[in-house]
Symmetry: C2
Subunit: 573 residues, 2 copies
């Protein structure tokens, strides 16, 4: 029943049909300008500006009071000085508004006077059954109606994450960073002073939303820790909740009190609450995103036994250290894997875990290593270093040039137009079997180009790469756009534009596709790293490579922590 | 004397006139191909391939033995199987070669048999006074002759860093990452098994090189800890040495032994040695670069008292926590600063440290805050959040569009061609006084564009920005190229190309210039952060913004650690 009423309460907030902006303004120096503009540009429902004086805001007819707006209003976004908010709320009650986002600051966070104002606003809202976001927040996003109720224009896309943040700036940065990493949000709420709806209420709501896969939270302070544990522990049995919670130091506790007005309290109490609720705690916004993306893209490990494969010894050393420091067990290499690697690597290979071919130039062998490791029952997870992307490799080893452009091969195939035409036809058909037949020789050809004369004895590997590349998700990837453009160029002789497509770009999603196939087949996490510190994007295969072993091993440790929580709670994974 | 002889020994390595590559090859599958190619493309001295069979390598006449090469040879780069290296070394002795880089692996790191081979190579080299880099390394770089003696092509530029790495892959990644951050190297040595020249020898040599400002080291194990402390402690009195040293865990110690063959030993011994030698220890390659760049660009703090300015409360909370966790003191805000901020920020500002204007839209006030803080004698250092770059701001708040293109203003100034012509003339003249007069109104105009109607009462601030922008380093920056292009467009009416220059791009180096002026004027560190997690580049002003408060506060803590070491060693800073 709780949940039904919560859903009824919060639906107008996350799926409003009609929205008003109170304090909408034509003055570019005011938040009321950027807030209204932001909704005007994106919101897909009815939208009205409310302004005491202006007849029109950004070309839309404005109303001096909420009660003057024609038709029903679900949601009011409020951007006026704090003294006026209670009065506006009275109007909202009269109008039958269901929910309000109070962006205005100057309430509980500034002291007793502000707290009194805030209490009055809440009193009026409760009277009319209006649920409140904020005050002192930056606004919210819901993908359902492209609802961008923000103080400023933000780039945000639909996706499987949800974020609730008690800090608007950190929330905004997280959204920007996630977007740069290629991951989107179903909902984002900057919840500010949480005068009404509490963090655990939002989490409960997101828990019920099937489109949300991972819930992220930035918390400065909770009102009622027991209520949080009670509500959130029901959610974490179904989907993961990851929390960033500063306040381990007095300096942070003081800063929190002047920011959100929250009492951050003793950190040990939070630590205990998170443990009981099954919330994964992280220490930075980068870690928050790392772990959320890991949870989105990887199965949970059954245990802590990890094998590392590395194209370089020093990487392996750093990764072994990073794993051991986080309680992961860098196990002795299983005999079966040892035998397989003895047969395929040069004699100088590391003969242990980390698995290091020690400068073997035949990197096809290295790409075969993961499956050999995952087949061993002694192994719970794999960290596969260096080959997270091909463009990452090129940035280090090829001076960032990304290999030769595709055009150079068009001319060489000029006498094989018929074959190219047949391939193009198969690709265009969309039939997976036909595409598989076409892709197999292309895979061999690409590996032969990158590793001349070395692609022998790799029939099984080429089969598995072909399988990975013809997964339904990969069939929609840019790899096929590039290949179609290439074969079309061979057929027509018009190769313009192909120089810009580098061999390494073409190959970019391939490691991700290989890894996704392995995680599905063996149901074990395979965490990859790149060579350099720059962040990457979620690949078209649905795989995310981390820039270093600290971050990769940390994600693995958090996946294990969640698995152990679920096991302890008796939830079958 | 030690130093003189070291210099005499290592000069042929770092400044060779003539180099041979033994094992140079035309076979693209061999390291001898990419090693020779890498030198052929870049090295500015004499270069000869040595190959037992081929008459020519990549178009250069090849010699079957080193003794057949005409003229003197300073440096031999060796890329042949391990069994042949001792024989080649005999030839090098006969030829009078002074130094060798042995890329070949399969020596001490693979066990007793390899160790015996290595001992023989060293014995022969010692006999002829040849100093050795490696074996089992990736090669080396010296800017002096554009010496790119690497296994593979690497993008590397001249600069004030030096790097000595016992791991070639980590070394290569560090070089790539530093290059991406806009910082270059005077020398980089992948030192491998350090059979002859020890890490402390390289450090001693870099210590004497005036062009090297900061020395970075990746260490797996040292041969003689006391020798390291003795030699390196002399260097750290003059310039900083930053070390990454894994081996805190058994898993890493095992990996080290199979990688470089080093005995990593008890971590506590390393910790003590680094402390005695004044070496700053870090835990990741990202931290290694962060700290090195901090040391390059910032003065050392006199103490641990820090003030944080933040454009958002949650950022301030995270930063206060990050500082406190690292032993920095987030002090109560000095009264003088409190009074100044009371006068300039809205009433809801944080009234403390972190200084948070709490959503003040007038960001000129925020940009004025750093100088007010630095003027307080109670403050040792400042962390200035969010405004590390302007393009960073635009990526979050303007949806990555970077503000309007410059072209839009060209037409509006169409009737002021004379003024634009005069401005262009002043800029072209290169005379700092003339440029200062031109820049002052431009600064006002830009701030007025970005903050319409709010640039009042900021005379002093505009003066200081003008001063910062006319610093000799800034006069060479792209800001002036953009401004000249703009005024030229006003004069000629041809505004093509200007749309691509966004207002935020134009402004990008401005925060860095402001900060550089402040660090020079007050001789206190000012560490800036951006809004998002992407790495930035060293700005044209010589300033580097960090992506988050963890990394910013960590750099500050390391600067303090170095200052405390120097104070303890009685070195005047």
């Amino acid at each position: 029943m709780q949940t039904d009423s919560l859903h009824r309460d919060l639906a107008p907030l996350f799926q409003p049909d009609a929205v008003v902006v109170v304090g909408a303004s034509n003055d570019r120096n005011k938040w009321g300008y950027s807030t209204f503009k932001s909704l005007l540009d994106h919101f897909e429902g009815e939208l009205h500006p409310v302004n005491l004086h202006a007849p029109e805001i950004l070309g839309r007819k404005a109303y001096s009071r909420v009660i003057d707006v024609p038709g029903a209003v679900d949601l009011a976004v409020i951007v006026i000085p704090p003294e006026g908010v209670a009065g506006v709320m009275e109007d909202c009650v009269s109008k039958g508004v269901r929910a309000a986002v109070i962006i205005t600051a100057g309430f509980a966070e500034v002291g007793p006077k502000g707290k009194a104002l805030q209490d009055e606003v809440v009193r009026v809202a409760r009277k009319g059954g209006i649920r409140l976001v904020g005050p002192n927040c930056m606004g919210m996003w819901s993908a359902a109606r492209n609802l961008t109720a923000f103080m400023f224009p933000m780039r945000i896309t639909d996706g499987p994450l949800a974020l609730i943040s008690q800090g608007g700036n950190i929330g905004g940065a997280l959204v920007a960073d996630a977007t740069a990493r290629g991951v989107g949000f179903r909902h984002y709420v900057s919840c500010g002073c949480t005068a009404d709806i509490q963090i655990e209420d939002y989490i409960e709501y997101m828990g019920e939303d099937e489109t949300v896969k991972v819930i992220m939270v930035y918390i400065e302070g909770l009102g009622d820790g027991n209520r949080f544990v009670r509500k959130v522990s029901r959610v974490t049995r179904k989907k993961p909740v990851v929390a960033l919670k500063p306040g381990k130091t007095d300096a942070a506790a003081r800063a929190i009190s002047s920011h959100s007005g929250a009492l951050s309290g003793q950190d040990a109490l939070y630590e205990a609450a998170f443990r009981r609720a099954g919330v994964l705690r992280v220490d930075s916004s980068t870690e928050l995103l790392d772990v959320a993306i890991g949870l989105l893209t990887q199965p949970l490990p059954a245990g802590r036994r990890v094998v590392i494969t590395t194209p370089g010894g020093s990487y392996g050393v750093m990764c072994a250290e990073a794993c051991a420091l986080r309680g992961l067990e860098v196990i002795p290499l299983p005999e079966r894997a040892m035998a397989a690697f003895n047969a395929m690597f040069p004699e100088r290979w590391s003969h242990g875990n980390p698995v290091d071919p020690a400068g073997d130039r035949d990197f096809v062998q290295y790409l075969k290593a993961p499956e050999i490791v995952l087949q061993c029952p002694e192994v719970d997870a794999l960290i596969f270093m260096g080959f997270g992307t091909f463009s990452g490799i090129s940035s280090v080893f090829a001076g960032g040039k990304g290999g030769p452009g595709l055009r150079r091969w068009v001319g060489r195939l000029a006498d094989r137009k018929e074959m190219a035409g047949a391939m193009l036809e198969a690709l265009d058909s969309g039939d997976p079997d036909g595409i598989r037949k076409v892709i197999r020789p292309v895979v061999e050809w690409i590996f032969a180009q990158m590793m001349p004369g070395r692609a022998k004895g790799t029939e099984d590997f080429m089969d598995s790469v072909t399988e990975a590349l013809t997964d339904p998700q990969m069939l929609k990837s840019s790899l096929y756009d590039h290949l179609k453009a290439f074969f079309r160029a061979v057929v027509t002789g018009d190769d313009s534009g192909l120089e810009a497509v580098r061999l390494f770009d073409l190959m970019d999603p391939v490691p991700g596709a290989i890894v996704r196939r392995l995680t599905k087949k063996y149901q074990k996490p395979v965490i990859t790293t790149t060579f350099t510190e720059g962040n990457t994007r979620l690949s078209e295969a649905g795989h995310f490579p981390y820039p270093n072993s600290d971050r990769a091993s940390n994600v693995l440790a958090k996946l294990l922590e969640y698995r152990e929580y679920l096991d302890g709670a008796g939830v079958r994974v």
